[in-house]
Symmetry: D2
Subunit: 358 residues, 4 copies
């Protein structure tokens, strides 16, 4: 293939709005994509946008969102602005007929997120959440195992996502980190993540004015539980998720690139020789079987996000991480807020009919 400096007719014309923390990653991947053409980067701070693009670029820079909305070359917009502005910008883009990719969280409330879903549906536009982790080779493999049934019934999910992190000015540790775990679980569980109840404890040991350490328990339909520990205050970086099924267990250690996934052949065996008088004869046998660490091809997940976005725009199919996944996650975040305020009280969630769309 011969490279040219011109867009091809098949390229999806794109703009990125927001060149702060996450925007540069989106920009880099749109620049490298051979199915999209990046026309413009929009940021209130135009120098920041220029610095990200570098001095040898042909991409335009603007601080005027309206110019993006009015530009007929731009079919799609990727939004990486502060969370509080997601809803307004995404709604404006959709109403201007643009397909939209939004950094997490989709909005600040599930009500807002549902409105975005509805606007996109009415206009037959793609609304996609940039839940990057769902496109990593590790999560793809976990999803494959879960949907193929090799894990059996999911019983016990435990996720730890802790590190030294900067205290965000506009989000607590739940809103900052929990969407990662929720989106991952949402993409793994057959009906998305729809807990029946949530309990959360938030702690602010350093007096930062918001939760810096958090623990969340989610009761899953059936007997399962998912627990997530998030923290900005850990001197060690741990990103380990245990996905326990009735047949197999997966341990995902995301800070070990040489062996991210370990699939344990068997997990736990319950032999029930219940005698009439002695219910206590039920026993769990030690059964640590062989472990398989599948070879994963390393690839940049965000490149696949861009590819999925472009492909959905062209074909009209739903993205893996569509707007309804963003809604499900926001409903849980809202329940977490309520539980934290009530010092850990169990908050029930109604089963969302929206999940049935998948």
């Amino acid at each position: 293939m011969s490279y040219s400096n011109q867009p091809s007719p098949n390229d999806v014309g794109v703009a990125v709005v927001g060149a702060g923390y996450w925007g540069p990653n989106l920009i880099r991947n749109f620049l490298a994509s051979d199915t999209t053409w990046l026309w413009s980067v929009c940021d209130l701070n135009m120098d920041r946008a220029r610095q990200v693009l570098g001095r040898h670029t042909s991409v335009e820079v603007t601080n005027d969102l309206q110019a993006i909305l009015d530009d007929p070359r731009i079919q799609a917009v990727a939004i990486a602005t502060p969370a509080g502005t997601h809803f307004g910008i995404a709604k404006a883009c959709l109403e201007a007929g643009k397909h939209v990719l939004v950094e997490k969280p989709l909005a600040l409330s599930s009500i807002e997120a549902e409105r975005l879903v509805n606007v996109a549906a009415e206009r037959n536009l793609t609304l996609m959440c940039d839940h990057t982790y769902c496109y990593t080779p590790a999560v793809r493999r976990i999803r494959h195992e879960a949907t193929q049934g090799t894990l059996g019934r999911l019983q016990y999910i435990d996720s730890v996502r802790i590190n030294l992190g900067i205290v965000q000015p506009d989000a607590d540790v739940f809103w900052d980190l929990l969407p990662h775990d929720l989106s991952i679980l949402d993409s793994i569980l057959p009906a998305g993540i729809q807990p029946t109840a949530v309990s959360a404890i938030g702690v602010d040991p350093i007096g930062a004015g918001r939760s810096c350490v958090g623990y969340v328990s989610m009761t899953l339909p059936g007997e399962g539980i998912a627990h997530v520990h998030v923290s900005w205050l850990s001197p060690v970086k741990i990103r380990t998720t245990i996905i326990g099924g009735s047949h197999r267990y997966i341990v995902w250690d995301d800070v070990n690139p040489a062996q991210r996934l370990s699939i344990f052949e068997r997990g736990v065996d319950v032999s029930t020789f219940q005698t009439p008088d002695d219910q206590r004869q039920m026993m769990v046998q030690y059964r640590s079987g062989d472990m398989l660490a599948p070879a994963l091809v390393e690839s940049e997940a965000l490149a696949d996000v861009v590819r999925e976005f472009a492909d959905c725009i062209r074909t009209g199919r739903r993205p893996l991480t569509d707007g309804t996944s963003g809604v499900r996650i926001l409903k849980i975040l809202e329940a977490v807020d309520a539980s934290v305020a009530a010092r850990g009280q169990l908050v029930p969630l109604e089963q969302q009919s929206i999940g049935a769309l998948r």
Copy 2:
């Protein structure tokens, strides 16, 4: 020193009651001790006791507890029987004038445990809990750092103790594993572990009839929190405790013998440049400083348990892990039971005056 096959007059005469799971470890360490003399092992199953002692031993075996109680050579008894029998055997031993070392838990309730404390106090006998972990080089070092004040104010303690484990017939995962973490914290915190409230979630995903996975949050006096995750259902063995202070953080990874302790020079820094109109200017700086991994001399903790027991018997001083520590731990376990039954509801604990004894 010349070795002889006879007890010396200074030896504390000892019997071990219970030769099942933990008893053999106690027996081995009493046999190797040069300050105690093991006269007898008592087990209802005498063959089991004989098998533990081996065929070349001069130690006696009995299945008659009364013979132990009546034996004037025996000054002290170590109890490693099922938890339900601890109270009865310990009380009988104390009333027969024997010093007592009890495997965890000290009893099945704090009421029983307090009675044992009182009986021992009335008779000036040593009552010691075999909280083995408190005698490991790692916990000794953590205690040293905590009591010297080098960690600053303790803010955030997170402990994970998970593995594939056998479902106990007479205990859930809290009663099986949590006493380890509680006893460790009890020996580290200046006034022992006395949370103001406890919240716990127990899960039984495999239908074993009791909690196999558990999460416990404890609100510590001041702003701190301690959270513990225990599980019998993890295919990987993790034993990691993070002890976060305002000055330093310690990460204790007990499955890494080459580097059990990592002391991070600084943890988190809060710069508060609060402007009148903008509370959000409070920031946490990234401050991952140098890390020190102190050289620890590997030693068997149980040998130090035996040494402490013998030394306290001879000097009359309180053991590090005395009966009151057992009481504090049982009060928490009782609160955990109550919270699990109430699906995670916060259970307040009254501050125990007993802690002031230390």
Copy 3:
């Protein structure tokens, strides 16, 4: 089974000679064995022997080897004395009609070792080397894979055995550590370890008067190579062996109990599309396939050494680690000495017909 304090008629009567560094481990395992009866421990320092046995034992202690040789109850002797005395004591024991188990190295020269092999053969006695590693679950599994042919042709073996170690008074680092790797390879390779040539470099950076760091290369029959790095001067403990075959690779990390063995499904693929004019078109493809970590049952290898010794005595079969394996290892150690003296020069070894005995 009911335990008694008397030997059974089937027990092999045993004595251990030497209660220093390794002897206590042998003693502990003979005490726990139910197929041998330990009558006596012999050491020039009788107090040391008594201390090892403890104060509650019925085992006799002596400093008189002749008493062992004359004792008709003693059918077999395990020798754990300084290496310089192995030959003399082993020869005396064999000539007195005793079966013999010798700590590594079997003797100080291959000539001596061959004499022991011959004496044992003449008298139909078991002569076994205590090559403990060969009885670990990890090495048993590697041997299984190698002999089943799942690895393919062995091409590349690399072993690292380094740690902070004490400088031995009577051995350099090669004689101290290399026998472990040699015995392991000897038990894995179908015809035992019989390199065609050896090259070794020894270094004494601290002026200890003997090699403290060593590198050994062995040319294996065929195209393969085995390389071993041994050191007393490493601040980190590494015990990693890579066994590379044409089909599969095994990585054995002995300091990681949770995952000692990793079997890589495929290793390296050579596609040879040699064009007449361009030999350089030969390519190795990246082929990191799935990895299997087999579940290994942890067990004490030395218990299996004792079991093998007793079983061979009773059945007359050859032990896995018989005298001829000791001879093969000593021939290599002698070649290492010669190569070190010649500053790394390649020293050829004649193929030992003794290997054919296996």
Copy 4:
């Protein structure tokens, strides 16, 4: 600072020659640099160059080296072509008055490399080797410790650099991987790396036609030794270097980003209580002291290579990795070739006066 799409007068005008394996990394860093201006990329395959630059670039592409040489805007050239062309292109660039940065190895022989050094010196041009590792935070810190004397006398350096790698068409494993270790040592040792003798063993177990596994021993002036193991055939990626000094040891584990450097407080202690009759009383004590893992700020080393190159061009100072370091490394590679051909024979090296230039 306001960004513009025009070079500033202070920018060093640059071209990159070669857009294959390593070139893209150079291009990316020159694009991001604010002290250089990338005018052109030259590759025989212009499409490859265009693909690297992407479709939104203003950088020119050419397949004509002469155009680069003739371009007055271009003051400096970075060369990342196949090794066999380094000498010719670098010489042409220097003779055209351009400063030159060359990917390793500097040339195919030390004679060629010395000619480049001389040409650069005659014309007062900067000649720099892109020894990227020397600019990593880890190697910077090791160099700091070594030059400050905190390590004491260097005694024992052991480096392992193994992975599954592609068999290079124009280099064996020594020429492919060894320059990394040699350049690192060259930047750490006070007089650069100047061994007195080299011994190397190369193995080709897969019939690739060149060494795929290699072991190199280098005798350092004084008593020290450096040993390097390189391999393309390891299923596990290991990059561990032990730098042992008389006072401290450093272990550098480059695949562990959370703890790349471990500095062991003390290494090995030799107590010499030599009695007249017993030389063997010399002892090494176990002395594993505390370990410090310094906090390293992660940064891209190649950005610092670009910065160093630009800075040396502007100030005329010698780069850390100047042409003479390339010469020293090539002299060792030549000795390695000779030793491999002689099956590991020790090849002496004359001490290079060129090292004195530093």
